[in-house]
Amino acid sequence: MQRWPVLLFLAWVCFLFFAGIGLFMSGFLLTRIELANSSSCSDPLVPPPWDEQSLPPGSCWLPRRFPKAVLVIIDALRFEFARFNPAKASPLPYENKLGFLHRLASSQPRHARLYRFRADPPTATMQRIKGLTTGSLPTFIDVGSNFATYAIQEDNLLAQLGQNGRRVVFMGDDTWEGLFPNKFFRSYFFPSFNVKDLHTVDNGILQHLYPTVDSGEWDLLIAHFLGVDHCGHKHGPDHPEMAKKLTQMNEMLRSLVEHLGNDTLLLVAGDHGMTETGDHGGDSEKEVNAALFVYSKTPLFDTDPPEEPEAIPQVNLVPTVALLLGVPIPYSNIGEVMAELFSGDGDAASAALQQLSVYHVNAKQVDRFLRSYSQVAQDLPAEQLQRLQELFSSAVEEHTQLLAQVQGAMLTPPEMEPRLRSLISRFQLYLREARAVCTQSWARFHPLRMVGGCALIAASCLLCYVASELAAVSDSFYRSCLLYPLLWGLVVAVLLGLACTFTQEGLDLLLLSSCAAAASQLGFFWHWWGRHPKRARLRLRAWLVLAFPMGILLFRCGAMFSDSFVVAEARVAPFLLASLVTLLVGKLHWDGRLTVPEGPRQQLLGFSSYRKESWYLLCLVAALLLCVRLSGFFHQCREEIPQCRPSVFLAPLASLRNTRAKNLFYLLCVALLAGMVYAVRSWLRHYGNLNSSDPLVLFVRWGFPLVVLCIACYWAVASSAEDSLGKLQELVQVAVVAFPWAVYGLTSVGLLLLLCHPMTVFAKDTRESAGSIVTPYQGVPSSEVDFLHVIPQIYRRMQESQKNRLERGSCRATVAAYGLGSVYSAALVIALTLLGFLLMLLHSERLSLAFLLLFLEAFVLLHIHTRFFGLSCSLILISLSLSPPSLSESFSVPWFAVISWLLAASQFFYSTGHQPIFPAIHWNAAFVGFHLDHSTNLLPAVLVGANTFASHILFAVGCPLLLLWPFVCEMPSSQKKKPKKEPQEELQEVEEHMMEMRLRESPEKFSAALLQLGLKYLFVLGTQLLACVCAAMILRRHLMVWKVFAPKFLFESLGFVVSSICLLLGISLVMRVDCAVSTWFSQLQLR
């Protein structure tokens, strides 16, 4: 049996997929690390000495210009909405509606100004709010200290205002509530979720806005209107509703300005724009082009506005507002101040001096941020940082020189001004370049990488399919389809690596590996094409067989492209699973496989009736449907479905108030655990795997109940009421840690034993001399079943010895090996049970019910698969006269089995209380067996990952069972036929109870079958992944991309990685058992 080539091939395919995922992710998911630092008043960002003494009270870093500010955010206020062009004769519905702003700007040009406000992608509201308050470029994943909440952890404007004792009042979009919990002096939140609702938020704000403004109990007032955005989503911008909405906003602004005092700054901003269809989220011109309007009743500017409104980046608002209000700039800000707002009302030179000091503080703050960021992360290119550093230090040096000259009064204002201007432009240059460097690495999709990753994944899927269809697997297959492609990949990798070292360019490991992957794929297809110049044409019938399962797979992949279906996937997967299974039963019926073959009499009557096996199959299908439906009771909710209530079973027992219910549930869970152990043990006993005295068997006998005991004790301790134990509190503290560790220890001992001695075979050696006949059969010695087999055994031995004596005069005897027939699946079942215990420990107590359903459903699926096998192939196949071609057919697992197995895996992802969104992750799994501290991040990540992908792990490890099960179950079918056979044949029959040993008989085919199974599994997984990747790529401008598609893609790809690794582990476990069986046989022969 070829073990290493199979594993290597699968590992290579996994690597291809991983390279594709990595490449796509690097183009799609832009990550950034959140710094925990925050600015404070006393930071040594020394303000210029001549300012220090004159800093008025309530100001930090620089004197404040305004004690109060109103920030009106009109969601999706595109620049075209705010612009007013009186010359336009017939304006579109969204044009010329905000006439009040135009009037202010034209009548008071020094008080008001309109800007183009350039938003950074992603232009989704949450990311924009983050940008507008932290002054940074939020990416999809801001790697911070806490994933569990959406709350902004970084230093931000609101935190700075709070630190300095300012009162922030908020009204509007409730997204802010999640982002800034308890940060507001007063707040009025309104639900933002329903996109169809144009008025709730706006009317709510209008109700509170003017009274709040008049009361004066605020320093910063934020009003976030959603109507325009929702109108865009519902009707698009070019619609009369939009005109109404904008007119309403115009009225609101008019009366707001009437209520404002002289010391108040008014900012009206759009957080992003919208496309012609009213969507946003991407980086097209219309989406990033928003409007900003600044107004104050005191003069703001010392020059007249430019002809064409200036375009300023959105992040510039943060340092500007911070310094205007006299609070420190947030630590992670990379924006540049809008200097014209700081010019004051002095002469040109003092205005320039003022602006210079603002720029100086701003540049120092950005420099400090870049330094601390480059210490924790390497994603900003080093040489560019170096250049920025030089730019900064030279500008600061000149600044100090200039200040000294100014203080010494060595310069007259006229000659000072040009130098001031040039210095300002140098600071500006520094700030802009710094921002550009950050933008380049944080806020741009890389379409080329995305397409490349997509293509890699698609090609890998194709490769899986093609390779799994290659029936004849020979030595040359591995040489031409594994070795040569690997060599191609290696050569390309080495060449690229050399090229990189020669050209002194930084080596991008990801690009290198994806190039290598692409090259090796090309190699594979090249050699495959060479080997199979004529494509073996699939016959129509073969296509029809494929059509049903592949059609279901197609539906599943299509569902990834709609946000509603992704949200509802918890119901889609079981629906498709149920449909697939019933469809196949229907097809079997249609083909007449379920009915008794028609005898002449029945043909005469025209009646047909079902075979006994068919009824059994129908019962199994009913059981499967029941399992599928019951597992739906363990669902978790997403915020997109507001009326959904999460399942009560998800809460830990400790949260139950009713003691009786708690005890009842506890007992139920423990009983389930015990029942599972009993079921596994009786299954093993039935197949004779519990007879030997190997350490592994002993572990199954005694270790399993011990594990269950530990879990039960842990649950008892963890779910007991806090105060009920009184003095035992300390003991409980110890127990809460000790019991999980006992379970971890025991399961790892069990898994180690499984690796060292995977054989669960009990050999009864009755030979007198060296013999080589081994009859594996099941059963317990000294039980009734045993006698059934032992008697013919003895009879046969007598017969043989007589025959031998007659023929050669030598005596041959047998070795009876109990459990040899199911040795592979026994190892897998033991491994699965151990993993199951471990994963149940990580979930809350009552989810063990879901796990029980999982095991039950997997068992039923395996049986259905076996039955289908028996019914759809001809009757002879499983009985003795196996002809070689049909044998090879029985070695390949049909597609429907693989697809239903994977559908069940994704169904139980949802049924163990998970959803592909970050807030739904069970974070407390990280603290099973730990107090609230972890020294590294690795261990909690592993625990939480194991919790999240529990069903992926179990189904992937159990995947080889799909191949093994029909062989394990072959016993009953051949027994059934026994009465029909002649007595002489019956003897033959007993010998033919080969079960899994049939696989060992043709090791080549066994390894090929394992490879084929692995490839099919990877193909189906990969197709789902491909659908997710394509959905994320195509719909990257979609409203829901950051809420639905991107998390779904992330969970799916992580699930793929976990599944593929576990699949490799499962297959290598089978190989390990095979090794052990080989040594066992050779020892037997030596003896």
Partner: protein, 219 residues
């Protein structure tokens, strides 16, 4: 002979197909505020009754299946009772299957049950009319090469189409379009109805096109 049979089938199927849209239109004249979407339960009842009576009536008039050999009154009554029991059981079975496929268990039981009755009317009732309460015959008809007349072929096609329609009807439910017809079980029952009507029209066409290949085993 064949042509006459085919013409009878055309007539019967067109009549049945025409009855379905009528159930949506006609009751509006008698009941205030009757719409298919608004008063869905009422429409379900009307549709079930109309299609059911029409099916039974057509069956009595056209007699597509051979009359049973023993036709005593007691025998007829027992057959009728058996039919009723079978129909009721199929309603329960459909209800169970629909719930297993993910329909709500406790809420909107009435809707689910009426939907099950509708499906039974489209499928089981036809089988009962055509084949009588004889499960073995049903099993035979619904397998490859099992149909022995164009009526049975038509039965196969309409039944499959109804069930497929109901299955496809479940697809729009999760979409966030907020349409009235997305409410359970409206989309499914509409899908089943459309499937039924489509099946009624497809069946004679299919038979017409495959006339050459269709060879029925004589009983």
């Amino acid at each position: 002979m064949r042509d006459a049979e085919a013409r009878r089938l055309w007539a019967a199927n067109l009549l049945r197909a025409a009855a379905v849209p009528l159930t949506a239109v006609v009751p509006a004249f008698f009941m205030d505020g009757f719409t298919v979407l608004g008063t869905h339960l009422a429409w379900l009842c009307v549709c079930v009754l109309c299609v059911g009576t029409l099916n039974v009536g057509l069956c009595l008039v056209l007699k597509p299946s051979l009359p049973p050999k023993r036709s005593s009154v007691a025998n007829k009554i027992s057959r009728f009772l058996k039919c009723c029991i079978y129909f009721f059981m199929s309603c329960i079975l459909f209800h169970a299957i629909i719930v297993l496929y993910g329909a709500p268990l406790i809420e909107s039981v009435t809707e689910t049950f009426l939907f099950a009755v509708l499906l039974s009317t489209f499928t089981t009732l036809q089988c009962l009319c055509m084949l009588g309460p004889n499960i073995q015959a049903w099993i035979r008809v619904f397998s490859k090469n099992g149909a022995t007349s164009i009526w049975e072929n038509s039965l196969q096609i309409t039944t499959t189409c109804s069930i497929l329609g109901a299955w496809f009807g479940a697809f729009p439910i999760p979409l966030d379009w907020d349409r009235p017809w997305q409410v359970w079980p409206i989309s499914c029952s509409l899908g089943a109805t459309f499937g039924y009507v489509a099946g009624l029209i497809i069946a004679p066409l299919w038979i017409h096109w495959n006339q050459k290949q269709l060879t029925y085993k004589s009983r």
